[in-house]
């Protein structure tokens, strides 16, 4: 089956916002490395990445980095 029926769903797929049916179709295409789906998904990822950049950076608690490093040393 072609990919045109999936054309509008790539962003929704990456955002985890669509029903299982369309997800399964896209997963199936990705598993066989469908070049069309990969390209469209990459374009969709650009949009989603830019959406994540619309939030303001937050001030970090300096203790957090130390806690993270301690946690990683235990792993």
């Amino acid at each position: 089956m072609g990919c045109q029926h999936l054309d509008e769903y790539y962003e929704l797929y990456l955002l985890g916002a669509i029903a299982d049916g369309a997800c399964l179709d896209i997963n199936e295409h990705l598993e066989r490395e469908c070049p069309y789906c990969l390209e469209r998904l990459r374009e969709a990822a650009h949009s989603i990445y830019l959406l994540t950049l619309t939030t303001r950076p937050a001030r970090l608690n300096p203790k957090l980095k130390l806690q993270l490093m301690k946690r990683l040393r235990r792993k």
Partner: protein
């Protein structure tokens, strides 16, 4: 060695060799933006900081694989941070209401992630992109906001707004189509009217 001059991907390669200084440098560079994103989804700071730590713990574990896959570190971490925050938010909702959809938030295949060379261009176009978002009609922006930052599925958005699913879906698709179309213009220009 000074880490300021290294790219995020250079640092990732070092993190793959369990270089703590490289992880610290990536943290200094990317954590403020990631925490801002997580806080937009999970306003409780303690919970948000916990998710931020999970994101960097995952980076520590998966750095070797991500480095081989040549993914953009900022994009990979931003999408992972959103996915983990939304996952946590949905779990809280399920706990509170007993209902809520489980969906796959972070596909296991990474070949679709933006490449490092694309990220500089995307970062540089961020302000133009914000203008694009502001051009969306109010209801479409509201639905998009609910999906991106409140982690609702299209079905849940329809319930929340008391609108038919078909209407919500067509609004979301129109909004995302608009963004896609405008993004192509944004990527080709610096300051033109978009």
């Amino acid at each position: 060695m000074m880490t300021q001059s290294l790219t995020a991907e250079d640092l990732l390669a070092r993190v793959a060799g369990h270089d703590e200084a490289a992880l610290g440098a990536l943290y200094d560079r990317l954590a403020p933006g990631l925490l801002g994103l997580i806080l937009r989804i999970l306003p409780d700071r303690t919970v948000a900081e916990c998710v931020l730590q999970d994101v960097f713990a995952r980076l520590w574990i998966d750095a070797r694989r991500w480095s081989k896959e040549q993914v953009s570190v900022p994009a990979c971490l931003a999408l992972l941070a959103r996915a983990k925050a939304v996952d946590r938010l949905r779990a809280q909702r399920r706990l509170a209401s007993g209902v809520g959809e489980r969906v796959n938030l972070y596909p296991k295949f990474h070949s679709w992630l933006p490449r490092p060379h694309e990220i500089g261009l995307l970062d540089a176009r961020c302000e133009l992109f914000k203008k694009v978002i502001n051009q969306l009609p109010g209801p479409q922006r509201q639905a998009l906001d609910l999906m991106v930052f409140s982690g609702y599925t299209e079905t849940e958005i329809a319930e929340k707004l008391s609108e038919p699913l078909a209407k919500v879906r067509s609004g979301l698709l129109a909004g995302l189509g608009f963004i896609r179309h405008r993004l192509a213009a944004v990527m080709r220009t610096w300051a033109a009217n978009i």
